[in-house]
């Protein structure tokens, strides 16, 4: 009998036949997601309000420049999630740059593009502050929030471009078109 016991013990792995359902980790992940700290919520609330304010201001003064530079906050960690966000943002940017828009409607888009600018700048300064203060965890959270906010803004830009172009199609407007400088 000891031989039989040894045989089972030496082949333990063959008795782990049940496979793990991927949903178990998904459930765990949902429960361990860190909740944003109060001060972070305030920072992002202020950021959102500022974006709206700058948007309204830009609309009021009818700023005409349409130049948006990629501020490129650095990638904190090359995690699969971060890489996926980077790729998504890059694809959206490419889509925006490759879609022609009538010059006369670019002012409408500028409001949103200014918000993207502002978000990039705000994130860059927040990132610098957190880096100097060695708040690695907070940097990761801020980075995620930044990705989400930027992704939403780029979606809005794409939505507006589509709306403008659809309207043009409907009314057969043949105006001069060019792509956005992004």
């Amino acid at each position: 009998m000891p031989d039989f016991e040894n045989y089972i013990q030496q082949n333990k792995e063959h008795f782990d036949s049940k496979e793990v359902d991927p949903n178990i980790w998904k459930n765990i992940e949902q429960k361990i997601k860190p909740k944003a700290r109060k001060w972070q919520k305030i920072v992002w609330l202020v950021a959102c309000l500022s974006l709206i304010f700058s948007g309204v201001l830009a609309y009021m003064i009818k700023e005409k420049k349409i130049v948006l530079k990629e501020s490129g906050p650095r990638l904190l960690a090359e995690t699969p999630a971060n890489k996926a966000y980077e790729k998504t943002l890059w694809l959206k940017s490419q889509q925006i740059q490759s879609t022609p828009v009538s010059n006369e409607y670019k002012n409408q888009l500028q409001l949103l593009l200014d918000q993207v600018h502002y978000l990039d700048k705000l994130y860059a300064s927040t990132f610098e502050y957190l880096q100097n203060a060695s708040h690695t965890d907070d940097m990761a959270k801020s980075q995620l929030e930044y990705y989400q906010a930027k992704s939403e803004l780029l979606d809005k830009v794409l939505f507006e471009i589509e709306k403008i172009n659809n309207n043009e199609k409907e009314f057969n407007i043949n105006s001069e078109k060019s792509t956005l400088v992004y």
Binding site: F4, Q9, S17, K18, V20, W25
Partner: protein, 185 residues
């Protein structure tokens, strides 16, 4: 594949992951989960014989371990600590239905071939183990497959060490009887 396996089994990495989990690092949590989920699920299943219940149990056990990881003195012992959490939670679910059978002292199994078990599939042996009655099955699997000592098993099952040993011996005989029966032979 080999690299991953070496990595997962490396205690230094487990210890490192534990210290990162203490700082609420989700990637480290994922690493620990990936390293131990399968063995914990199977440990629990052998106790409960109910896969859905065992899935719930390991989910709760991992959450509990992440929450209470500060209590773990030696980070490299995370696996042993987690195993105890899973075993205890699994036992708590089946305790009500678990009873130790009266041991049949007359149960004698004739040995004809010393290596008789090598003719069997592992799946057949596993099936026979899972068909053992509640009580002696848990004792057998906790000792033979999950590496607990009789003293620890006795403590987890609220019984004496001598009863744990007797139940283990009885489970082995029953297992052998089942495996030698026409169903598996």
């Amino acid at each position: 594949m080999e690299k991953t396996s070496t990595f997962l089994n490396n205690y230094q990495h487990i210890a490192e992951a534990v210290s990162r989990v203490r700082k609420n690092d989700q990637m480290a949590m994922r690493f620990l989960y990936t390293s131990f989920a399968k063995s914990m699920l199977n440990l629990s299943f052998r106790i409960t014989n109910d896969l859905t219940l065992s899935e719930d149990i390991i989910q709760e056990a991992f959450l509990k371990s992440f929450k209470e990881i500060g209590h773990l003195k030696d980070p490299s012992k995370y696996g042993t600590w987690l195993k105890r959490i899973v075993a205890n939670q699994s036992i708590s679910y089946v305790r009500k239905t678990m009873k130790f059978e009266v041991i049949d002292e007359e149960l004698v199994v004739k040995i004809e071939d010393v290596h008789w078990y090598k003719k069997l599939d592992f799946a057949q042996i596993e099936e026979a183990i899972l068909s053992l009655p509640n009580g002696c099955r848990q004792v057998l699997t906790l000792y033979l497959l999950d590496g607990f000592k009789h003293k620890e098993i006795a403590s987890m099952l609220n019984t004496s060490e001598s009863n744990a040993k007797s139940q283990y011996s009885y489970a082995k005989k029953l297992l052998r009887t089942k495996l030698k029966s026409h169903k598996y032979a």
